[in-house]
């Protein structure tokens, strides 16, 4: 938990909670201060690898303390000190925007595009925010919990080869 102590000295009000999950130190930061905290970690604590940016949709999760629906997870690694750190931030359904960290790490470009494509969370100051895995005519965001699993949206007219058993 030493990293929590180091961050707490500089950004006292930004930390919402911190814990250790299975050897990974996890810190929850307020949405507005995420860019500054990650910049501090990159410049002064030598966290030079951004391994992953992802999001989780907590709608329907049993017994959750928070009411915010989405959580964005940043996975940082320091090669010099061999340390891993997970930074999380909470995004509410009414305001689906977060600051982009593309100016700090180049790899955040595609990771944030994927979060936008799958969840619909917009990143401010992203150079090229458009869909990456799905096609442009697709309506909706597939990894949200309210998108039905088998709902297909075909791009071209498909041939008629007879109906399946359950469609008859």
């Amino acid at each position: 938990m030493e990293l929590t102590g180091i961050i707490k000295e500089k950004f006292e009000k930004s930390i919402l909670s911190s814990s250790v999950f299975y050897d990974n130190e996890t810190i929850v930061i307020r949405k507005e201060d995420v860019f500054d905290v990650i910049k501090f970690l990159k410049d002064e604590q030598s966290f030079d690898f951004l391994m992953d940016v992802t999001a989780v949709d907590y709608k329907g999760y049993p017994d959750r303390n928070d009411e915010t629906r989405f959580e964005i997870v940043y996975n940082l690694f320091s090669y010099k000190n061999n340390k891993r750190l997970i930074i999380k931030t909470l995004v509410d359904e009414k305001d689906l925007t977060v600051n982009s960290i593309t100016s700090l790490y180049h790899s955040a470009d595609w990771h944030e595009r994927e979060v936008y494509d799958m969840f619909g969370i917009k990143f401010i100051n992203h150079p090229n925010l458009k869909r990456i895995l799905m096609y442009d005519e697709f309506v909706g965001h597939p990894l949200r919990k309210d998108y039905p699993f088998k709902k297909r949206q075909p791009r071209i007219n498909l041939r008629d080869v007879g109906k399946n058993e359950e469609e008859k």
Partner: protein, 398 residues
């Protein structure tokens, strides 16, 4: 960019060219939109998504043992490593400790997968640059390793071998004999290929100084695996945070300088050698014992327990209908894939199905850096660079 306008001529003589989704390289489907001036690439844009199969949404609708075949098809050239990563992440959440023989089996199969991945990458890359003979030599070598994996698990390309809490079948004595002979033959194929390619004038000229990247850019773009080891940083998850029994073996991490395609080629050739050494040591040290953990809430009990005792019957019923359960929480666990750090981020809600599974694919940030690697070079160098970054479609797009 619509599919109809495949070639557009701009005012200053530049051409917008489409290297379309289905192109003559056996790597998968990626669309690269190039802006060229003569033969030089001025700008490029990469479009992916043609193999997106909905892995992460499928994981939210299946139980943990049902996800293992889906993880096979992520990086389909090295399937055992994907399975090991997922199964170890779930076992760490459940607090399960494996017996020794199971750990050694996992190391042996992972290293076989690493060898098949590097062999396929070099074979396909050499073929596209015009060298047909190394393709046949290396695919023959890969065929022996596929037969070896087939003897252990029943499947060549998609084995579905590991389970939560252990392994499905044990290794036979035939497997150990066959693998020892196969490794000797693989070594001879590899030395033939080395004589053909390593100091070959044409191969060297095509790979040297193409696809070059500096050390700071490589770190900023999130490279891991053989690509970061070709710029001089020796990051390997097997040495920095050892898992299974890797700390008992004597092997080295090859590192090259230069950051271009030739350095990546050299790193991969040497890694095949190091993997062979690990397998030979593991086969010598392989202990006897059980291959599964002895806990009925995780692994199916033996048949005499199922029909003999009430606890065996209940646990068999529950495991078949629902599957093993994990406690509430989340975990990030990383293994060293053939392309780099393969990480699994699993969020669990306490039931037998995960709430969210995210795979950190090692080739995703590398493909994002592809414009940076090919801009300024010739069109012909795209083939060499694209082959050496070893983009696997199933892993890139899940």
């Amino acid at each position: 960019m619509s599919l109809e306008n495949n070639i557009t001529k701009l005012e200053d003589g530049r051409l917008v060219l489409n290297m379309g989704p289905s192109h003559p390289a056996m790597h998968g489907i990626v669309r690269i939109i190039l802006t060229v001036e003569g033969e030089r690439v001025v700008n490029s844009e990469v479009e992916i998504g043609y193999l997106h199969r909905g892995f992460e949404k499928t994981c939210e609708n299946s139980n943990y043992n049902q996800i293992i075949p889906y993880t096979d098809r992520l990086n389909y050239v090295s399937p055992f490593i994907n399975e090991v990563g997922f199964v170890m992440a779930v076992e760490k959440m459940m607090g399960v400790e494996l017996p020794e023989r199971a750990k050694y089996i996992r190391v042996i199969m992972s290293e076989i997968s690493r060898m098949t991945d590097h062999l396929t990458c070099i074979a396909a890359n050499a073929m596209e640059l015009g060298a047909f003979t190394p393709y046949f030599y290396l695919i023959n070598a890969r065929e022996l390793l596929y037969q070896s994996g087939d003897m252990a698990s029943g499947g060549r390309v998609t084995p579905n071998y590991f389970r939560i809490g252990g392994t499905s079948f044990d290794l036979t004595p035939d497997f150990i004999e066959f693998t020892k002979n196969a490794l000797k033959k693989v070594d001879s194929y590899l030395s033939d290929t080395r004589k053909l390619l390593e100091r070959n004038r044409i191969f060297y000229d095509r790979l040297k100084d193409t696809g070059k990247i500096t050390r700071e850019d490589a770190v900023s773009y999130g490279f891991t695996g053989p690509l970061i080891r070709s710029v001089g940083i020796d990051y390997d998850v097997r040495k920095y945070s050892p898992y299974l029994v890797y700390d008992r073996f004597d092997f080295e991490i090859p590192v090259a300088d230069g950051g271009d395609n030739y350095a990546r080629f050299l790193v991969r050739m040497e890694e095949i050698n190091q993997s062979r050494k690990i397998i030979e040591q593991a086969l010598l040290q392989l202990p006897d014992g059980p291959i599964d953990v002895d806990d009925y809430s995780v692994r199916l009990p033996q048949k005499d327990e199922v029909y003999g005792s009430i606890e065996g019957l209940i646990s068999h019923f529950k495991l078949t209908f629902e599957g093993p359960k994990t406690p509430k929480g989340e975990i990030y666990f990383a293994v060293e894939g053939a392309n780099g750090e393969l990480g699994y981020y699993i969020v669990s809600d306490g039931t037998h199905k995960p709430w969210r599974v995210k795979v950190r694919p090692p080739c995703f940030p590398v493909t994002g850096a592809l414009p940076r690697l090919i801009n300024g070079g010739y069109i012909a160098d795209i083939v060499a660079t694209f082959g050496q970054i070893n983009m696997i479609g199933g892993e890139l797009e899940r």
